[in-house]
Amino acid sequence: MSSSSTETGIDVVMPQMGVSVSEGTIVEWRKQVGDWVAYEEPLVDISTDKIDTEVPSPAAGRLVEILVEVGTTVDVGTVLARLATDAKPGEPHASESDAVGGTVAPPATSDAAAATGDSPAPATPDPAPKPEVAAGSAGAADTRRYSPVVSRIAAEHGVDLAQVGGTGRGGRVRKQDVLAFLQDGAEEKPEPPMHIESPYRPDPPKPKAATVAPAISTGAYDPPAAEPLSRMRRSIGEHMKRSLDTAATCTSWIEVDMSGVERERRKAGLTALAFVARAAIDALREFPLLNAWLDGDQVTVHHEVNLGIAVSLGEDGLIVPVIHGAQDLSPEGLGKRVRDLARAARAKTLTPDDVQGGTFTITNPGQYGTLMATPVINQPQVAILDLEAVVKRPVVITDAAGDDAIAIRPMCVFGLSWDHRALDGVLAAQFLAAVRDRLEAL
């Protein structure tokens, strides 16, 4: 635990969150000085590069001092705050007394009364939150009791029993209730489609027209107040602008017939991305200059592929978790890693190591039907592969006898943004052709 003991309390320190992380920035303090903190209750949000994480309290106690303010970046191991662990949750303290204008008995009196067991009735309700309530989310605590089997099933499946309606006597949650909840939950809340899933839909459902009602004009337009960008958006913006300012970015496109990919991925129960990733890795082994970092005039050509996969976090932004040692994985293995990392990204459980060390990136935003893009290179890498929507199109094919025909084929445009400082267009074209040939040979 990221803490060290003192005589009366515990120091909360900047935790080590991955082997390569040496510092972190305070994003937000969840507690104020004087607040009671339960053991493992989130105390402070910190940020390292793109990863945000919360630091749980190393002990129960009262937060007596905050040493590092929001926005400050400090080294791992720096003391962030101090907790008084000999404090009691119900005890008034200086800041609370101030806050309620002295209507609470001063601490000395309270202590004395408690010591003699002759406590006078407080003039106002105890202002200090009980730790159980503080630890829970907003709203009434769940006071129902659960049978052993219900508790076990809930624990095994991570079910919040407060959300489960009971059909037993007095609204008791029965085994069948929690089982039904599990089943319904699976039906009602399917996992959102992943940004990186194959966009190909044989019969795409017609998207509903936007149902946003037009605002009724009431005269002069009163624009809403500007708000600061989120930290993640600022971070993405800085990275992207720096890349465009740094690299000589060019983009090349190639069209790929995805018939074989679609057939194979259905057979294997995978997304198309798993096969595209495998083909890209093979092509990178053939053209290793694309699997490289360029830093100023220093180029590092990697012999292992650490494959970054862009994962959309919706309006929050975008994150690129990295599959380390991707060259060793089969399409099945790649598919599983992609899924795991995307889930971790959405659950905000990625570690800093999960997003570092990428040597090449694939982005796959085609699910909405866009055909082409000019992706921005993820510095210091030298190329990024973009695959857009798979769309059925009439294409000219040539059969074995050399006769041409028009066929309907699922087609996809692959775009490669590459850094002209590191390589030339011919290499990008060769790479794209290698990827295409591998995929069309499936």
């Binding site: 049978s147 052993p148 089997v149 219900v150 508790s151 076990r152 037993g168 006597r169 008791r172 029965r174």
Partner: protein, 321 residues
């Protein structure tokens, strides 16, 4: 296969075993010329003769003690107690001799003690008891209690062949009320539990006459799917069968005709509490006879014994819990 009553199946078991194995013989009060108080050994005297169908004095201690001696001499005696209640008179021989001989001397005591037990026919306090728990608490004895004709025959043959003293509880109320197909010849039934009816919503664990009460009470219980486990053997107790059913249904009702305290069902409840705690979705409920002697008065007796209505009520409460 022949259709037999529970009583006929017991007679058939003894007759077939006596025909097959000349070491097997019966002894008891009025079992010979009279054919037994319940006519279980009717006709045995004529077929097997006085040497293998022995009338004894009214002395249960003497019957069991003599049987032990015969077993040590290599025979396989079957003792009939006229009523299970009377075994109290033979307790010392059964508990301190038969049950412990193997532990003390290494001698197997291959005896079977038949106990016509149970109430429901206004027999009063001396002719209606279910004393199985007395024997469950005495290591060295096996205790079995069939509920069907087929099991009565198979379990009795298993008991006769078992090298341990076996207490065989045959329920008087079932003697002529329960009928069923019974295989001819000899066969053995293992001392394990039987699933009398499969179900998914609730498990009823019971044995003996209460198996029929439980089946009838839950045959159509608001559409609920109720599993009924017939223990058949109380020692050894088939804990795996009990726990498997509890893991499936998560709710348990235990029905004993015996007086409630320390009855066989109490042991079942203890096993479930210890080994299936995390599978329970409700309290382990019991329906048993209250801790009072069985009255002569028919309405009072019927009020005490677990009835179909009481089992239904308890089952409903658990299902709704």
């Amino acid at each position: 296969m022949a259709t037999m009553t529970y009583l006929q199946a017991i007679s058939d078991a003894m007759r077939e075993e006596m025909r097959a194995d000349e070491r097997v013989f019966v002894m008891g009060e009025d079992v010979g010329v009279f054919g037994g108080a319940f006519k279980v050994t009717d006709g045995f005297f004529d077929e097997f003769g006085a040497n293998r169908v022995m009338d004894t004095p009214l002395a249960e201690s003497g019957i069991i003690g003599t049987a032990c001696g015969a077993a040590y001499a290599g025979l396989r005696p079957i003792c009939e107690m006229q009523f299970s209640d009377f075994i109290a008179c033979g307790f010392d021989q059964l508990i301190n001799v038969a049950a412990k001989m193997y532990y003390r001397q290494g001698l197997p005591t291959n005896i079977t003690v038949r106990l016509p037990s149970g109430g429901g026919f206004s027999g009063g306090p001396y002719h209606s008891q279910n004393p199985e728990a007395w024997f469950m608490h005495s290591p060295g004895l096996k205790v079995v209690a069939p509920s069907t004709a087929e099991d009565a025959k198979g379990l009795l043959i298993s008991a006769i062949r078992d090298h341990n003293p076996v207490v065989f509880l045959e329920h008087k109320h079932l003697y002529r009320r329960v009928k069923g197909d019974v295989p001819t010849g000899t066969y053995t039934t293992p001392f394990t539990a039987r699933t009398a009816r499969e179900g998914t919503d609730l498990t009823i664990v019971t044995y003996g006459a209460m198996v029929h009460t439980a089946l009838e009470a839950t045959e159509d219980l608001d559409g609920a799917s109720v599993e009924v486990i017939d223990l058949r053997s109380l020692v050894p107790l088939d804990t795996e069968a009990i726990l498997a059913s509890v893991r499936k249904t998560s709710k348990v009702l235990i029905v004993d005709e015996a007086n409630e305290t320390c009855a066989a069902g109490a042991q079942v409840a203890a096993v479930i509490a210890e080994h299936a705690f995390e599978d329970l979705d409700g309290p382990v409920r019991r329906v048993a006879t209250p801790d009072v002697p069985i009255p002569f008065s028919p309405p009072l007796e019927q009020a005490l014994l677990p009835s179909i209505d009481r089992v239904k009520e308890a089952a409903r409460e658990l299902l709704e819990y």
